[in-house]
Symmetry: C2
Subunit: 248 residues, 2 copies
């Protein structure tokens, strides 16, 4: 009976230990999965692994030079009125998956989707001195990816897509911004607004990649830039020097 | 010894049972927390509890009549250039928290933040027949909340905020849209584009709440609407009938 009591005490102790271990494990798995899900929304696994939590969730507004990239599908709204709803959603999901892979390939951060638009930037939270070159190379690669997909779509008799991409460099405020229930890692300020307004210029000039002077000046790569007439942007007093860029 | 062996067998079986329970618990807690985090991003806890996973994550594009609400801070970019970066982020986070609470109070869905902008809608995924009234009441309540906060800010010598809100009703495609790593519950289509473009009209006319004709026609509440000259929106062929709405 003494032996049985000893065994029972040992087993009871083991059980308490196990329960405690499992509780800790549960907490660890949960917070790790939440963190992985959060990080995977913005960054490639490679970039996410370079960062720790403080670099993102603790950010309360630091200024950094970045290059912003906006990408929009030309005539998308008209397209949604011709296609079925499910077809529109499937088309967008496939397109976004392809585009985000390219953004991540160049170390970019996916800020958000806006309708058919993509907002990404380069140089934050991981600092890259060559953020302008990364954004330009990414824009070219995105257009090439669209062309490849269009060839497949054409063969399948599906509608093809045409995208307009703008890139602009400058300082931005980076931080985790939102309501207490939904904070997101994002960039705000004039650089982002100017980039957003460059889209109308790109559409007007039927340019596939529009690069601002500020971005071109930072870029070191050889590329065929064609200067356009300075653009008057809504709400921006000084006209913006910008360039059309060939992607092939 | 027979008794001891019996106790050990019983305890071993209990341990196996416990390990299995904990494993299941771990999985349940993890997926529940992920789901709660995902749902809390878009909906109030009350709305989230009305829905099940299929209603959101399974949505691959259904059309629904909704009322879209856009809210923007007037002159925010100029403000960011005067304030410190941390101050800008703190100001936005406080402002968004207040505004999202109001959106949730009226059963709205928070689509996204865009810089200082808020995109919300009413009538999806939970169907409300009175989505136009909810959006109009929400817009009024948001303006009232801003006024209350401005009184406090004034007393503290802090900069006050002025917001422009537009509401527009119509059909939209609802679905979980994005790349394979980041799908979000969102609304797309012409109704959202028109609403986004109404903002420039509201700013031009210095109107605090701008309501489209489509939204006003659906609304049943008594409210003081003042018709404006039909607005020409970029990319929209027919001029839009719209109204200024008093909020106090």
């Amino acid at each position: 009976m003494v032996a049985a009591a000893g065994v029972m005490a040992l087993v009871a102790a083991s059980c308490i230990f196990l329960v405690d271990r499992f509780k800790k494990l549960t907490r660890t798995i949960t917070s790790e999965q939440l963190r992985a899900e959060r990080m995977g929304r913005y960054f490639s696994p490679q970039v996410a692994s370079l960062m720790n939590d403080e670099q993102t969730s603790g950010m309360v507004g630091q200024s950094q030079d970045i290059t912003v990239l906006f990408c929009d599908i030309r005539g998308f709204t008209a397209m949604t009125e011709e296609l079925g709803n499910q077809e529109v959603v499937e088309l967008l999901n496939q397109y976004f998956t392809t585009m985000v892979d390219v953004v991540f390939e160049f170390g970019g951060t996916l800020d958000k989707f806006m309708g058919d638009g993509i907002l990404a930037y380069f140089g934050a939270p991981v600092v890259y001195a060559d953020h302008a070159d990364r954004a330009i190379s990414c824009a070219k690669s995105m257009q090439q990816a669209i062309e490849r997909e269009n060839l497949i779509k054409k063969n399948q008799g599906k509608p093809t897509l045409e995208a307009v991409i703008v890139v602009h460099s400058g300082p931005a405020i980076l931080g985790t911004i939102g309501s207490d229930k939904r904070r997101e890692f994002t960039a705000i300020g004039k650089t982002i607004n100017v980039a957003a307004r460059m889209e109308a210029v790109a559409k007007e000039h039927e340019v596939k990649i529009l690069v601002s002077h500020a971005c071109k000046e930072l870029a070191k790569q050889e590329a065929s830039f064609t200067e356009l007439a300075p653009a008057k942007l809504r709400g921006v007093p000084e006209p913006l020097r910008c360039y059309a860029l060939e992607h092939s």
